[in-house]
Amino acid sequence: MHTDYIHIILADDDEDDILFFTDAFDELKINTKVNTFKDGEELMNYLNTDKAVMPEVLFLDLNMPKKTGLECLSEIKANDKMSGIAIAIYSTSASEEDIEKTFVLGANIYIKKPADFKNLKKVLSEVVSINWQYHTNSLNKDNFLLRV
């Protein structure tokens, strides 16, 4: 159990955000392994290869070039091989309509991008620990909805 780690993928076109995220993960107690992609197309190309390792959690930025987060979400949920990945959408938007729409499309987590590093760390820690609970306790992932 101690040697286990959570495999995480992050798709975001903003390099600063990627840096913030990976730094925040490095400081968490839970072991994580993070892969990053800089747009939706690059992400989907990777997930569609045979050797792709399906992550436990995929963090998706909604606004990405080439393929948006929403397009990725729909493709992932329609694909049996990928549908088990917990999807965490993160966005600067906090409109109720956007949030509900992504949940209905199959997202598990909706994160409003925190303004500072301290909060980001807190939010990611919460997301990863709750996801860890679902992962290690075989809770019903269909009922996994979290908004932070």
Partner: protein, 147 residues
């Protein structure tokens, strides 16, 4: 077995709710979880005492010991685990029965519906009614696809 094979085996067993435990500590943590799950989900298990007392009596260790061990192994607290399980159970009841939130709160031994409602919102970030609405919408879409 190589470490990779061991992880793969564990992953496939996880789908059935089974987890390979490697150490004595891990075994005790699993027992704590089992007692809590039984306490929350099995209504025949009548728990009249505080859950800390119940766990301690049932497993023959002090609550302080159990609590420290649990946090060390799972990165989460016993209290938090109980709350997550209760919220999971209330989700199941919201989706699969005709019980309303007041009745669910009563069933799960909450002091009031407001208490359950607040704990649900604090744990998931959304209200029980939004949760229900979202899952029902998802089911409707899934149904339309199969038709």
């Amino acid at each position: 077995m190589t470490p990779e094979e061991s992880i793969a085996l564990n992953d496939s067993l996880n789908d059935y709710g089974i987890e390979i435990v490697e150490s004595q500590k891990g075994i005790l943590v699993q027992k704590i979880k089992d007692v809590i799950i039984d306490m929350v989900f099995n209504e025949e298990t009548n728990v009249n005492v505080k859950s800390s007392v119940y766990l301690s009596e049932k497993l023959g260790h002090s609550y302080g010991y159990l609590s420290n061990l649990f946090s060390e192994i799972t990165y989460s607290s016993i209290e938090n685990f109980i709350i997550i399980q209760k919220i999971e159970y209330s989700k199941q009841l919201l989706l699969n029965t005709d019980l309303n939130l007041t009745e669910i709160a009563f069933r799960l031994n909450y002091s009031s519906v407001a208490h359950l409602s607040t704990q649900f919102k604090n744990t998931t970030g959304i209200t029980p009614s939004a949760f229900q609405r979202i899952i029902f919408k998802r089911r409707k879409i899934a149904q339309q696809k199969t038709n």
